[in-house]
């Protein structure tokens, strides 16, 4: 045995041209307005932005929506109109028609280019209208797709109260514990409290569907860890209390700005952990939280093994197959790590943006997983070039390509299995409970094509490369 074998295999990072397709970061509006039930999202941009939300995202603005476009017209661009007066007119109307608890202004590329001072205008208008206005710059010049959520959450960090105002309010804010204690009497709640270990309060950040919030909260409760609050909460008025010295942890890989803001502005301590995606990631995440909070983890190995056993029917479809990530939603590293653990190989992980610090624990787990599974480490390609990637996909004879919507049908027509990366953005993929859902998605193209394989319909374009 040489010394080299015991060294961790170094990950290979590359950066390409950035000529790739992904969704605009304003797409976060589509899920955040549903998550934060008393909010109103106002996207300040052009027709290009509006048509994207309406058409490409498939989020038809049909029933009484809680988001809208402030469509910039020629007069706004040429600064003939006063930004403040215009925004005041629109926000007054929104307040009158919808009466939200908060208006979130989503800045776009255009507001960046014309240097509209949204951060300067918001406090003034907030005071005048008497309604909180949160400003986020979810523009495509700086961010990709899911990072839009990061800009919104980072802005909301500033709005979290720094101390509970009174017992009653504290209780109201803490919607999770309220939910879990629903209908119980106070003494019973006190008993429940004793189920938790004594630890510094922990706040988790990242927007998840409510059932997943409950699942992860319960999963941590089993370890005696109490989640003091989630950012974002179901309602803006229930944002979690964040005091100096609290522990915080992100549940998604695209939240590096929020993490930085929590550390720098609110003096919290970030627990850098792999993300709770896949049984392996979930276990590592819980272990890391336990160790930071001084709690002895219990039963995790059994729990992980039990999940692996329950998904074996899916895993056996994946073993030995190769997966290629074109790069879209920044979940790529976590998903690749999970799929490698399932026995797949992964030559390339495209990713729009790679924050090596925020994702350090995840990258480390990726290296470790590759080592343990005895497969080569993937090349991580930041700002990929879709054209070049497609040539590499042809050359490497890939079994499954995780790709954005623009390339899925053309690849399928050439006999290459694909899965839309956006589905992982919208599906419930976090925690032990949802490992099966991830695999359900990943194996679907393989299962579908198994059922069609005798038809001889592999390639549906003439003279296609491949």
């Amino acid at each position: 045995m040489t010394l080299a074998d015991t060294q961790p295999q170094a990950l290979n990072f590359e950066c390409e041209t950035g000529n790739y397709h992904t969704f605009c970061p304003i797409s976060c509006v589509a899920w955040l307005y549903q998550k934060i039930e008393d909010s109103f999202f106002l996207v300040i941009g052009t027709k290009t932005c509006g048509y994207f939300l309406q058409n490409a995202m498939g989020v038809m603005i049909f029933a009484e929506p809680r988001y809208a476009m402030a469509e910039l017209e020629e007069g706004d661009i040429s600064a003939q109109l006063n930004d403040y007066e215009e925004l005041k007119r629109l926000c007054t109307q929104i307040k009158r028609d919808r009466n939200p608890s908060v208006i979130v202004w989503i800045g776009t590329c255009t507001t960046e280019i014309i240097k509209m001072d949204l951060e300067g205008l918001a406090p003034k208008l907030e005071a005048e209208l008497g309604i909180p206005i949160v400003t986020a710059r979810a523009n495509g010049l700086d961010y990709a797709f899911t990072q839009g959520e990061d800009t919104v959450l980072a802005a909301m960090v500033q709005r979290c109260p720094d101390k509970p105002v009174g017992e009653v309010e504290k209780e109201e804010r803490n919607s999770i514990s309220k939910l879990l204690n629903f209908g119980r009497k106070k003494e019973e709640v006190a008993v429940t409290e004793s189920e938790y270990a004594k630890h510094t309060p922990l706040v988790l950040f990242g927007s998840l569907p409510d059932p997943v919030v409950t699942q992860l909260t319960l999963e941590l409760k089993k370890q005696g860890i109490k989640v003091s609050g989630w950012l974002p909460s179901k309602r803006y008025t229930e944002l979690p209390v964040i005091e100096e010295g609290y522990f915080v942890s992100g549940i998604n890989p695209f939240l590096s700005r929020t993490a930085t803001t929590l550390m720098r502005r609110r003096k919290t301590k970030l627990i850098g952990a792999p993300f709770p995606i896949g049984p392996d990631g979930t276990r590592a995440w819980i272990e890391k939280l336990c160790s930071a909070l001084g709690v002895e983890p219990k039963g995790l190995a059994e729990r992980e093994a039990q999940i692996w056993e329950s998904v074996e029917d899916y895993v056996k479809l994946l073993r030995g197959k190769s997966v290629f990530f074109m790069g879209d939603n920044l979940l790529e590293i976590s998903l690749a790590r999970f799929l490698i653990r399932c026995g797949m190989t992964c030559p390339e992980i495209g990713i729009p943006y790679m924050d090596k610090r925020y994702q350090a624990a995840e990258l480390e787990l990726l290296s470790k997983t590759c080592r343990e599974m005895g497969v080569p480490t993937p090349t991580i390609v930041e700002k990929p070039d879709n054209y070049n990637q497609i040539q590499r996909i042809y050359a490497q004879d890939i079994d499954l390509v995780i790709t954005g919507m623009a390339h899925a049908n053309p690849l399928e027509a050439r006999g290459i299995n694909t899965k839309w990366s956006v589905e992982f953005t919208f599906a419930q993929i976090h925690g032990f409970t949802n490992a099966r859902d991830v695999l359900e998605l990943v194996t679907r193209p393989l299962r579908r094509n198994n059922s069609l394989k005798d038809l001889g319909w592999g390639k549906l374009v003439k003279d296609a490369k491949v």
């Binding site: 052009t46 027709k47 994207f52 038809m60 049909f62 590329c109 280019i113 629903f182």
Partner: protein, 508 residues
């Protein structure tokens, strides 16, 4: 600033890309921030295109903002020229990048030096033009460019084709039922002995645009895209054009008669009257439908029509003239062409509405309470809320506007499709009477209760709440699986924990 919840027409660059990507072997480079290239998604997802959309983004990021795009755009053009060997590369900004005021024309000139292909900058104002106006303009720009090029090289063909011939102008990618309309129009032309000299832009090669003047006339089926090109060819070569949309029995006949005039004016000797009569009375089912007893009950029913100019005007005429339906309101979102629309529909409806404010249109529909709506996807949705049926007759496009089966709106087969659409949108015939007399089929409220004796599982309040959060279409299945799980384990009560344990074990 405008508070907007919905747009009937997309931004200008979508129009430009619809034209460029309709042509064969033409590539577009978008000078735009990441995410603005969602046109690719529309092509791939809505039109279910098997090929990679010939559009590449040259991304505008912080660096470009700080220092200008410098070599980036030029490099991307020359690179695409080498990779794909297209005949033409069209460069377009979006609303966003157009305000950077970079000298894109200069980039195009510089790129042209090194490329084998032609390079054009799409010349549209991104704040004044809608998708439709931009598409119209880009098509004209490309045609004009290749006509001028051929002229300069002395490659313009002399004279006309031997037999009467036509260029069909305006069939494009992501157009409302365009592909099917195109097949139907070709069939119609074949039936009346007119050769199709060219169809542009869909499937056409830019290198063959120089042959456009060989046709006897141009046919522009859609008011929104193609008129500028037809006008240009008229000015340049004196080519006549027919811009009557052959939608509905009467308008199709009028279109064919106009073609007859145009052909005969150029020395042809054709008479299509027998053909029109035969198609109208015996081939198309639409005229017979109008006379049938079914359609009798449509007489005087109220309808609202809304859409683009072409389809809203044609539909208004069909409903009013061919089916005796009372069109209370006809409207369009093509505000730039308001005058034409008013001229076309005024005599066939009570009121005309020119607006791109979906709220105002919804309010008008609620006020009028028509028996049916013929509109866009937006009006279909409004109809759902008001419980008024709606037939979709116009863009903005939706995946449902790309049916796999053959569903043209134009020509004689189109008349059948439209008749079906109308018929299915109203409750008709005996059903209508029965509903009126007896007040509907199911007057008795359906009583639902727990059916099986063994589903007496206790759900805790929290679990019940959790269950309610699960989307309705899978809730039943999850409930059943969870109860089965609980029974198997002799749990008397279902808690949230039990719910998720069940999910893990049975994949509920």
């Amino acid at each position: 600033m405008k508070l907007a919840y919905w747009m009937y027409a997309g931004p200008a660059h979508i129009g430009t890309l619809r034209i460029s990507s309709s042509f064969k072997n033409v590539h577009a480079i978008m000078h735009a921030p990441i995410g603005d290239d969602y046109f690719n998604v529309m092509r791939s997802m809505l039109e279910r295109d098997r090929n990679f959309t010939p559009v590449t983004i040259s991304s505008v990021d912080r660096n470009v903002l700080a220092r200008g795009s410098q070599e980036k755009v030029v490099d991307n053009i020359t690179r695409k020229d080498a990779e794909e060997t297209p005949d033409l590369i069209v460069l377009t900004p979006t609303c966003t990048s157009s305000i950077l005021q970079e000298d894109l024309a200069n980039f195009v000139q510089r790129a042209q030096i090194d490329t084998k292909c032609d390079v054009l900058l799409a010349d549209v104002n991104h704040y004044r033009f809608t998708e439709l106006q931009a598409a119209d303009r880009t098509l004209q720009q490309i045609v004009q460019y290749y006509i001028a090029k051929a002229k300069k090289k002395g490659q313009l063909p002399e004279g006309k084709t031997e037999k009467p011939s036509v260029n069909i102008i305006g069939i494009s990618s992501l157009g409302f039922h365009n592909q099917h309309d195109c097949i139907e129009l070709k069939r119609l032309m074949a039936d009346i002995g007119v050769e199709v000299n060219a169809v542009i832009p869909e499937g056409a090669s830019v290198l063959e645009l120089k042959n456009l003047p060989k046709a006897w006339f141009n046919l522009v089926p859609y008011r929104e895209i193609g008129l500028m090109t037809a006008e240009f060819l008229k000015e340049e070569f004196g080519m006549p054009y027919v811009d009557i949309t052959p939608m509905g029995v009467v308008e199709t006949a009028r279109c064919i008669r106009k073609i007859q005039d145009v052909v005969n004016a150029q020395g042809g000797d054709v008479n299509y009257e027998d053909f029109i009569e035969n198609q109208t009375l015996y081939v198309s089912q639409a005229a017979w439908f109008s006379r049938s007893i079914d359609c009798q009950n449509l007489t005087g029913k109220k309808a609202v029509v809304f859409g683009d100019n072409t389809h809203a005007a044609a539909m208004t005429k069909i409903l009013s003239r061919e089916m005796g339906i009372h069109v209370v309101m006809a409207g369009t979102y093509c505000k730039a062409d308001e005058k034409w629309f008013r001229e076309q529909v005024s005599e066939y409806c009570d009121e005309v509405m020119i607006s791109d404010d979906n709220g105002a249109i919804a309010d008008a529909i609620a006020r009028i309470e028509p028996s049916a709506i013929f509109g866009t996807q937006m009006e279909r949705h409004v109809g759902k809320r008001l419980r008024i049926p709606c037939g979709v007759i116009s863009a903005p496009i939706h995946v449902q506007d790309f049916p796999i089966g053959y569903k043209p709106f134009l020509g004689y087969e189109g008349t059948n499709q439209v008749a079906d659409l109308v018929y299915n949108s109203f409750t008709l015939g005996m059903e209508d009477h029965l509903l009126e007399i007896f007040g509907g089929h199911d007057t008795k409220e359906v009583i639902t209760r727990g059916m099986s004796a063994d589903s007496d599982m206790n759900w805790t309040k929290e679990a019940q709440l959790e269950l309610n959060k699960i989307p309705g279409f899978v809730r039943g299945k999850i409930k059943r699986n969870t109860e089965k799980f609980a029974r198997d384990r002799n749990l008397s009560e279902i808690t949230v924990e039990a719910m998720y344990a069940a999910k893990e074990s049975v994949g509920a």
